[in-house]
Symmetry: C2
Subunit: 296 residues, 2 copies
């Protein structure tokens, strides 16, 4: 396998940025404050990992980058951004900075930030409804994605579980459940929906789902480990914040060494699910490997 993974991620991110630029109303479109707020957070330097995973899953299934998959990536990124905006609000994590910039409510006020998050979720589903694929595939993609950001084992469910267990001592089971729901489900569905857009059948969906489930958990473990081991300058945010606040993290319940072993094992298991695709999955595997081994 010889893939220049950084170029591959950069190309996917550029495609996604162009789609987002075209799909979110300009900051001068009335009512201006909401569009300014949506753009502030969407263009705050996100790495577009979910769109890149969707694109690579599309290539894994179809052999080439499916035309129009950047629109799917834009929808996924809007959902991710909406969750960050609401997560940062004073009533939730109360964060002033994200990726070194003022959070949405710091820049635009709380009312507009709440509505900007709302609007990004709405626009995501509108964008998905406009995917250039057979209507039955579009409906399947919307159902899968809505489920993945929902309350039962989805993103919002994970956030609630995190809130409900704030004052409990984290257990391995709790951390596993929070990670799978809060961040894992959207990663997983990014991979699966990329495949469905590319024409995946039931077997493909099952394989991509297995890959996405394992890889998504591995990414979050790697994130947790980075928070403990990296210094703040490398990380671009306050290192050690999770441990300091007794957040439910993988190293908090398993230690750093075991966490690194778990992430490596999960990636091996994830890759095994892609065996039938041979070299067509090289890009997807390279991106996944990069995400668990990155240093910031």
């Amino acid at each position: 396998m010889c893939v220049d993974v950084k170029s591959l991620i950069q190309e996917g991110a550029d495609l996604t940025d162009r789609a987002l630029e075209a799909l979110i109303p300009s900051a001068t479109t009335a009512p201006a404050s909401i569009h300014g707020a949506m753009r502030h957070s969407v263009f705050a330097g996100g790495k577009r990992l979910r769109p890149v995973l969707a694109m690579q899953a599309g290539i894994t299934v179809a052999g080439v980058l499916p035309k129009g998959i950047d629109r799917l990536g834009a929808g996924l990124e809007m959902l991710h951004t909406y969750s960050l905006i609401h997560d940062d609000l004073p009533a939730l994590d109360n964060d002033d900075l994200r990726r070194g910039k003022p959070t949405c409510h710091k820049a635009f006020g709380e009312a507009v930030a709440i509505l900007a998050g709302d609007a990004l979720q709405t626009r995501a589903f509108e964008v998905l409804a406009g995917l250039e694929c057979p209507p039955a595939a579009t409906v399947q993609i919307i159902a899968l994605i809505a489920n993945a950001v929902g309350t039962v084992e989805g993103m919002i469910g994970g956030q609630v579980l995190d809130i409900e267990s704030e004052h409990l001592k984290p257990t391995p089971e709790l951390v596993d459940a929070i990670h799978r729901a809060k961040t894992g489900a959207l990663i997983r569905v990014s991979v699966v929906s990329g495949g469905v857009f590319a024409g995946a059948g039931a077997d493909d969906v099952a394989r991509l789902d297995r890959f996405g489930s394992k890889a998504g958990l591995a990414f979050q473990i790697a994130d947790d480990v980075l928070d403990v081991t990296a210094d703040s300058a490398t990380l671009g945010k306050t290192a050690g914040k999770d441990l300091a606040t007794e957040k439910a993290t993988w190293p908090a319940v398993h230690g750093v060494e075991q966490s690194l072993r778990d992430a490596a094992r999960l990636i091996d298991e994830a890759f095994a699910a892609l065996e039938p695709y041979g070299s067509r999955a090289d890009g997807l595997k390279a991106v996944a490997r990069y995400l668990v081994e990155r240093k910031n």
Copy 2:
């Protein structure tokens, strides 16, 4: 025309309640707090007017109540409820009571209320993706509804316009724009999507859109007038609150008498769009007439 409009509304509301009951996870499903909060607001005594309008539009197009349209109604009601939960938040209208009960954030805290609103929007699109109609119609319905609750001439756009113009003297143009977007767009799309679910062609969509646009504005004018003329006991909320807070309302810029004339004229124009349907539109017209003439 001889329609028992109250029974007709009650039957539609009952159908909707049963669908909502089945489609929102129980208050004991984990994570429990979010499902409790969603149910608190969804089952707080809403009249289910949007679902009823969708059902009557379906009858107007198909001649009978289309099987499974209650699911569409449930999706519309979830979106309406999500907007109320977020509108009531301290950063927005800061309301403690709605329909005589504690608002969602008063009962469950601000964090869970934000997420419950988010989750109702998500679940609405998931529910819509499961409509029992041809996939192309499902995609059309999702696109129309997402547009109607979005930022450009949709519900969120209307809320933002309302916030942006809080300290401006309301003009007729501003009130018209806020009403059409903030409440009108979801009413309008309730009618149109009910028609599309029932198999509406382009001509039907154009007629229902015209009806929904005129009727939706008439309902909001009637609401504004009620706020001025009814006493608080009849209304179930603090009467005169809009004028007291200098909200952009129809009577504030046109006076009560002209507002009543405008609502009556809009309803006449709305009914004209339904002429081709003859008596099949009697239910839809009766519901619309009831909504502009109701006393609370």
